[in-house]
């Protein structure tokens, strides 16, 4: 469970997250939507302690993030908004192995996780390719594989569908569905609900760093346009 209480985050004078409360239960799939600049990315970066609160607190599985960074980062894996920022190694396989290696697993476990994660995003058999020869869509999938290899309790994806073509989107979506069925909780950040309605249990919409709406996908539609989000086709 991820619990956010009274979280405030400021960049200079901008208040990006403003006294926000939110709880994400185990196994839940939450879509986090909101216009550009509404604070989505800032919020999720607190889930694994990449940012420090100016006020309030965040806990993961009952332990404060700030005091248990390793635990938080093992429990919460993250796919960044710009996946090309996220790759740390020169080849596909080495990049996916980076996280598991840091967990101190055995080589066999690492290899298993690497091949499973690559298969999940349709990159199997490409472990030896260089990351800088991948297309935009492939980089996104590789970033997802790197996060999956952490076998996290909670997976946070910051706008994972931008730049993906339809087959890739379908395959990522299918994999996310599987994860959800297997009990991993998902937080999918987007400003385009068309991509994720099939997946969501719950839609949370941010506006100016606060929760403006927290409801089921079915009930979300009416107010979305006001909040700067493209509603899913209503037919």
């Amino acid at each position: 469970m991820i619990r956010v209480e009274g979280l405030v985050h400021r960049y200079g004078d901008t208040v990006a997250v403003d006294a926000l409360d939110l709880t994400i239960d185990d196994g839940e799939c939450v879509v986090l939507a909101g216009a550009n600049g509404s604070g989505k990315t800032t919020l999720v970066r607190h889930f694994n302690g990449l940012l420090e609160p100016d006020a309030g607190s965040v806990s993961v599985n009952g332990r404060a993030v700030a005091e248990n960074l390793v635990a938080a980062r093992t429990a919460v894996a993250m796919v960044f908004q710009h996946p090309e920022d996220q790759l740390v190694a020169a080849t596909v396989g080495a990049d996916v192995a980076f996280g598991p290696e840091n967990l101190g697993l055995s080589r066999d476990d690492i290899d298993r996780r690497v091949s499973e994660s690559l298969a999940a995003v349709n990159l199997d058999g490409r472990a030896d390719e260089r990351v800088d020869t991948l297309s935009g869509g492939e980089v996104e999938r590789l970033a997802i594989a790197g996060a999956l290899a952490m076998e996290p309790d909670h997976l946070v994806l910051d706008e994972p569908f931008t730049g993906l073509d339809e087959p890739a989107r379908q395959s990522v979506l299918a994999r996310l569905q599987e994860l959800r069925t297997s009990g991993t909780s998902l937080v999918v950040v987007t400003h385009d609900l068309r991509d994720v309605t099939e997946l969501a249990d719950r839609v949370v919409v941010l506006s100016d760093g606060r929760v403006a709406l927290d409801t089921t996908p079915e009930n979300a539609s009416d107010r979305l346009a006001d909040l700067g989000i493209r509603p899913p086709p209503s037919c």
Partner: protein, 191 residues
């Protein structure tokens, strides 16, 4: 309508690519200067500038590596916040760390020359050559840095050596190791 621009002399494709790289390496150098840690025994901070100087020589070669770091100095002199800790302006170019700053383009060119010769080739050379090139570059940086510090601050060379060179040798060893790591890991496609 297109005929009215007949006199435009386009910059050649290859040169455009090199200018873009030189400018972005100069910006990377500025970002490296911003990563700055106080040194307990010297007023001069530990920064990543020297690492970027190495990388400019290794990845851009002697000519464009040197050009890139020179561009960095010009931009900084004109007010870009690219010097240690994000400072800016002409003052730094004649201040206590001026010796280092003026040495950087020379060091980048020297590293580039020792790795590539005069033509930019494959940067993946033997470790000994790579480390040797960076040690030579470091020597140039320290020599000019110490002389500059002694001259601008009006102190003796001995005192300057301790504050402006000896205090940094361990940090430089890390940067050389990091640069070797980058080259060895094949992290960047060869040109």
């Amino acid at each position: 309508m297109a005929t009215e621009h007949e006199s435009v002399e386009l910059v050649g494709d290859e040169l455009v690519g090199n200018i873009a790289r030189a400018a972005l390496f100069a910006a990377l150098m500025g970002a490296g200067a911003y990563v700055s840690f106080p040194n307990p025994i010297s007023p001069i901070p530990v920064t990543l500038q020297v690492l970027v100087v190495f990388l400019a020589g290794i990845f851009l070669g002697p000519i464009w590596g040197g050009v890139s770091i020179s561009l960095y100095l010009v931009a900084g002199g004109l007010g870009a916040p690219v010097f240690a800790g994000g400072s800016a302006g002409f003052g730094a170019l004649v201040g206590p760390t001026a010796g280092y700053l003026w040495s950087y383009p020379l060091a980048a060119a020297l590293v580039g020359f020792l790795v590539h010769g005069t033509e930019l080739g494959d940067y993946r050379v033997g470790t000994v050559r790579l480390v040797g090139a960076m040690v030579a570059g470091t020597a140039v940086i320290y020599a000019l840095g110490v002389i500059g510090f002694a001259f601008v601050q009006n102190v003796g060379l001995g005192a300057a050596f301790w504050t402006a060179a000896a205090a940094f040798i361990p940090a430089e060893a890390f940067k050389i190791a990091a640069a070797v790591g980058i080259v060895r890991s094949d992290a960047i496609a060869a040109n």
